[in-house]
Amino acid sequence: MKLYSKISAIIFSVIIMSVTFSERLSAQNYLARQLSFADKLFSEELYFEAITEYKRLMFFDKDKIHDFRCNFNIGLCYKYGGFYDNAIVYFKQAELSTIIDEDIFQSRIQVARCNILRKTTSVALSILNDLEHETRFADKKEDIYYWRGWALMVADDWENASRSFYYIDPEHPLKLLCDNVEGNKYSVTFAKVISYILPGSGQFYSGNYLSGFMSLGWNLWLGFLTVNSFVEDRIFDGLVIGNLLWLRFYRGNVQNAENFVLQENINIANNAYKFLQNNFTGEKP
């Protein structure tokens, strides 16, 4: 009889437990379904809709078991939609909703990547520096160097970018790209200095020959008029022509030399960026 009583008590307990946890189990089931639905939208690149579903999941997930994943994926959705400010907010929330080092690292890296994309590269570099100095991320150096290289590339600092990729691998393809860009770039200082010495030469240096000839012509002619005025004792004329005309074109020649070189350098950098956007198969911000 006693045995029968115990069996009955066990059966009763099992039923009570199943009733108690059925709500929880059922909720878990629905949350899992919601998560897979949101993930499906995410994988189909329907990012706006995916954000809605991740938000819905977070709203009904009272135990907050999916908080990190939802916040992180919402951040990714916003990033892919070009809403970098919003993306950063959600990556920071993702960081706050986890205690796992790997997740914290990934969230912070994503914040740095968003900053690279919105071209606030100094912020990205500061985040990467902070990560580098944290001992718990000592095994993540390569990742940090990689994204630092990217931040520097987008900041148009190809020399330091090359150095950053070198720490990963001396033959890293992005290092070679950076070296190539740096090698092809024109020197702004050189262009300006030679233009100070011989007007138009800075333009020749950057391949703008017509502008170089015109600058040279104006400066020679106006220089001659100025000097001639002083030689003929026409001081006022000399001052007016020298100040208002010759100096204007002389200054313009140096400005042009600088602008042309900067434009050429932008073209060189843009060609590299085009390659990175369209042909580079490695990980991008």
């Binding site: 706006f48 994309l117 104006w218 074109f249 313009g252 932008i266």
Partner: protein, 161 residues
């Protein structure tokens, strides 16, 4: 005085309000609000190149053709070679061309003389003029055509897009 004209006053009010509303909307855009459904956007790392003056004649009409030839000659021989000397947007030469295009040669020339005077006054810069997104001081032609309904006041603390 033109302001006594009843219709002008109403039109002026409308323009000023439009500027306020546009400013409000631009502020909303800065906050990255999702105002409508969006789709994936491909990221770009490229740097925008500053626009260079083109040597293209668009309008074949006699007056406009003459103006275009003048503009091209001026750009080719002088403007592209004498450096960046004007702090305004549009620059003084662009201001002159636009003034003539929007009014007539005489009025355009007078507007240019006035602009030249303002350019010479080096003590009046930012924030008396608002900044244009190009980084220059915004001083548009429509504020000087002596048509009060076209005049729009831009406060000095905004960046005109």
């Amino acid at each position: 005085m033109r302001l006594n004209n009843f219709n002008d006053k109403i039109l002026l009010n409308k323009i000023v309000r439009l500027v306020v509303v546009l400013f409000f909307i631009s502020q909303c855009m800065i906050a990255q609000s999702e105002l409508k459904k969006w789709i994936k956007l491909d990221a770009t790392y490229e740097t925008e190149q500053p626009a260079r003056s083109g040597y293209i004649i668009k309008n074949k009409e006699a007056g406009s053709l003459l103006l275009s030839v003048f503009k091209i000659t001026y750009n080719f021989l002088i403007s592209d070679l004498d450096g960046d000397n004007c702090p305004f947007y549009p620059t003084c030469s662009q201001f002159f061309i636009q003034s003539v295009e929007e009014t007539n040669l005489v009025k355009g020339a007078l507007m240019f003389a006035d602009r030249f005077t303002r350019d010479t006054n080096i003590f009046k810069r930012y924030p008396y003029y608002p900044l244009h997104k190009s980084g220059r001081l915004y001083d548009p032609v429509h504020n000087y055509k002596l048509n009060f309904s076209d005049v729009v006041h831009y406060p000095g603390d905004i960046v005109v897009q």
